[in-house]
């Protein structure tokens, strides 16, 4: 088993392009993800064609009183260009008593945003009415009632969490790709015949599989760890100190993915077909499992059911639990159990399929 395991590593190191791609892509990917970490609030450019500079900045101060959104000053031309180039989804036009949302494409945040702006406008409107009809000056709005929100676990704004989910989800998604692509090697070995050569050697099949699978698992674990290390030390994203929990989740997740890989290798015969199948499987799993958007926005029952079957969902859930909610292993039993269970089932089916294929493969 260790012989096979070691050999796969030697082979990996013999292909510098592959290795460099692997490391380089991880680095680049994480760098982009770090960019994703950059902004903590949603910024909205504002423009006005009727208000003076001063009036506009008054409005901005008023709008920026709450910290959920950040309104910044801009002008129509810039905004137009940004929306046209898909660099922004929307912008806000300010006027004395009206506002105007300029929208290029729908965005999940926009309905809350409109609500927020509309409320401020109606408040201002009302204040102005009252102060006019009573002939008194500006009315100061006191804060008699405050709403304080606390999470059960220490964490800041909801934005930060959403972004953390994306960072975690994307890292896992990326590792799914690497693992599955590397596992194509199993099919290739069957085609070149080295696999058969090992079958009729005294090496048992169990050891052969174990050596191979352990290799892929370790590569996967190393990649995720590497990504987290880069994020932690080069970008400065905190992942807390629950190393044990994080480690266990990563290992279980990678196990589930390697098992998924076995299933694919059993189902799909040629590396060329795998080229097409892998992206489809990886991407649909990520979409269904909530790596791209929060699952709460999905209301379709079928999809919600399917989400329950996706290992990546539990991977994200577990990582978030360990990183942000400070959960202990016993509190993380659900995602861990789900990952191990899916792993075992997929592995069983996958190995069976692989074996059925090899029953028809001579030298």
């Amino acid at each position: 088993m260790w012989t096979v395991f070691k050999l796969q590593w030697i082979r990996l190191f013999k292909q510098p392009t592959l290795l460099i791609t692997f490391l380089g892509m991880t680095l680049v990917f994480v760098y982009f993800l770090a960019g994703a970490q950059g902004e903590q609030t949603i910024t909205i450019p504002t423009f006005s064609e009727t208000l003076s500079q001063e009036e506009q900045s008054d409005w901005l101060d008023r709008l920026n009183e709450e910290e959920t959104f950040e309104f910044i000053e801009s002008d129509y031309e810039t905004v137009y260009e940004d929306i046209r180039m898909n660099e922004r989804a929307f912008a806000l036009g300010l006027e004395e008593d009206r506002y105007q949302f300029l929208i290029g494409r729908e965005d999940m945040e926009i309905s809350t945003l409109i609500q927020y702006v509309n409320q401020i406008y109606s408040e201002e409107q009302r204040l102005e009415q009252v102060s006019e009809s009573f002939g008194i000056g500006e009315i100061n709005v006191g804060s008699y009632i405050l709403v304080e929100t606390t999470g059960r676990t220490e964490a800041a704004s909801s934005n930060e969490i959403y972004r953390m989910a994306v960072v975690v989800g994307m890292s896992l998604y990326f590792s799914v790709y690497s693992i599955l692509y590397l596992m194509t090697n199993l099919v290739e070995e069957k085609q070149t015949g080295t696999w058969q050569r090992l079958i009729f050697s005294p090496l048992t099949k169990t050891r052969l599989y174990a050596g191979q699978l352990l290799h892929y698992m370790l590569v996967g674990v190393l990649q995720i760890t590497l990504a987290l290390l880069i994020l932690r030390y080069l970008v400065g994203i905190e992942f807390g100190t629950n190393y044990l929990e994080i480690g266990v989740i990563i290992i279980c997740f990678v196990f589930a993915i390697v098992s998924l890989g076995m299933l694919l290798m059993g189902l799909v015969g040629s590396p060329q077909q795998l080229q097409v199948v892998i992206p489809i499987v990886a991407t649909s799993m990520a979409m269904l499992g909530g790596a791209f958007w929060p699952l709460e926005v999905v209301s379709n029952r079928i999809l919600l059911f399917l989400a329950e079957l996706m290992p990546i969902k539990y991977g994200i859930q577990g990582m978030m639990g360990a990183v942000l909610q400070d959960r202990t292993l016993s509190q993380l039993l659900e995602p861990i159990g789900a990952l191990i269970l899916t792993g075992i089932i997929l592995m069983g089916v996958g190995i069976n399929l692989m074996e059925r294929v090899s029953e028809n493969q001579s030298i």
Binding site: L18, I114, N118, R126, I145, T149, A155
Partner: protein
């Protein structure tokens, strides 16, 4: 040349499963998207009512009793005490809040469950039985009364405890509570400033604004956005998929045989480029066509739009063709399938991410989006979106020119890399 292209397409049509995967699988993703995001539109957002725990402090009667005492201690004349007390009762925010939470409109989202103690409620929260715990503490009303009537520096604090900040449910509860708090603050401030003169009126639900688009066309829906996003990503995946076939050909010595025959290497590369282009074009055509037929993604656009869409798709197909020929060159040069498989697959994923196929990246950083517009898929995605937003061709063409430039550069590199000597 033509025989080679014919061979390539023939091989693909023969291996029917490959072709089905290449052409139809993006459609599966679109279906997932359609079901997941199809109903996520600007105006309506459906979520089932979810339970929220409410923990009330003292009863209002106790608080009013205490309040009378407070008034006495302040030395308020006995005859005004009943007046102030009834005023206080009328504006008791605790009462208003629980009325509001049980209101029909709010009940569509939030289903209030009363808990006697904070501990029980928090336990329920941990068990996942409720989405949040709203606590109105002892003396909440009194704090507010003090602040409003005697201008004391006190604040009534409603506390909301949730499991996670990232839940949509959290956002909803929070927005209900803070809308109420804002409104109360506003009305109370007005009442104080006008000494009770202004009639308290609820904020009008009027819209003080409008939603407009840059052109007359409708904004892009999330569904349309992801359809384009997935479409360009999978079109890009065609390139490594075809390049790995080139490697297989080499393994089977087809390539060597072609090289010995009088065929020039450029013809070989050219045939890869053209088959890449044709397949991508078909792929996009099927995707847009079927998606419109089944989900109505692009329904209601005029013929002119479809012609422009065809032109954009052609430009995109060409750049994918160029990438195919580049990857073919690299594969043959490095003599390894790993490059086209791993490199291609992973690079495409990275490009798709930066280009905004998975999620609008400008939410993360604008720089990312600008970089994205320099990837072939990102640039084309923006161009498609522009077309759908109703921009005319002259405004779209800079991006298309950019992509055409990339096509040329990629082709030059791929010819430069192409192994000149016969390898085997």
């Amino acid at each position: 040349m033509f025989s080679l292209i014919k061979k390539d397409t023939l091989i693909l049509t023969r291996s029917r499963s490959d072709l089905t995967e290449l052409l139809l699988m993006p459609f599966i993703l679109i279906a997932i998207l359609g079901l997941a995001l199809g109903n996520l539109t600007l105006s309506e957002f459906t979520i089932n009512a979810f339970p929220v725990a409410l923990v009330q402090g003292q009863s209002i009667d106790r608080e009013l009793e205490d309040w009378e005492e407070v008034l006495e201690n302040r030395g308020v004349p006995d005859d005004t005490i009943p007046l102030l007390t009834s005023q206080a009762e009328a504006m008791a925010p605790g009462i208003q809040l629980s009325t509001l939470l049980n209101d029909d409109e709010v009940a569509e989202w939030i289903q209030v469950v009363e808990y006697a103690s904070n501990e029980d409620a928090l336990e329920a929260l941990d068990e996942g039985e409720v989405a949040g715990v709203i606590t109105i503490p002892d003396g909440f009303n009194a704090s507010v009364w003090n602040a409003v009537m005697f201008d004391e520096d006190e604040t009534g604090v409603i506390s909301l405890e949730v499991q996670n900040f990232d839940n949509v449910t959290t956002d909803i509860i929070r927005s209900v509570l803070s809308t109420y708090a804002n409104q109360f603050n506003l009305e109370a401030s007005i009442a104080v400033a006008t000494e009770g003169g202004a009639e308290a009126s609820g904020l009008s639900d009027d819209n003080y604004g409008e939603i407009t688009t840059l052109t007359a066309a409708d904004p892009i829906s999330s569904f349309q956005y992801y359809t384009i996003g997935m479409g360009v990503m999978f079109a890009l995946h065609t390139a490594p998929a075809l390049a790995s076939r080139a490697f297989k050909e080499k393994k089977q010595h087809v390539f060597g045989r072609l090289m010995i025959s009088r065929m020039s290497p450029l013809t070989f590369l050219g045939s890869k480029m053209i088959s890449g282009t044709i397949i991508t074009f078909l792929q996009l055509g099927i995707l847009f066509g079927l998606s419109t037929l089944i989900f109505g993604t692009l329904r209601g656009y005029p013929l002119r739009f479809w012609i422009d869409l065809g032109m954009l798709s052609l430009a995109f197909s060409l750049v994918v063709g160029a990438i195919t020929s580049l990857l073919t060159s690299i594969t043959l040069y490095s003599n390894s399938d790993a490059s086209s498989g791993f490199f291609g697959g992973i690079l495409v994923t990275l490009f798709a991410f930066v280009g905004g196929s998975f999620t609008p990246v400008e939410q993360f950083s604008e720089a990312l989006r600008s970089i994205g517009n320099w990837t072939p898929n990102g640039a084309m995605m923006t161009a498609y979106l522009q077309l759908m937003q109703g921009f005319n061709m002259s405004e779209i063409s800079p991006l298309v020119t950019r992509v055409a430039g990339m096509t040329a550069v990629l082709l030059v590199i791929s010819v430069g890399l192409f192994p000149k000597r016969r390898l085997d």
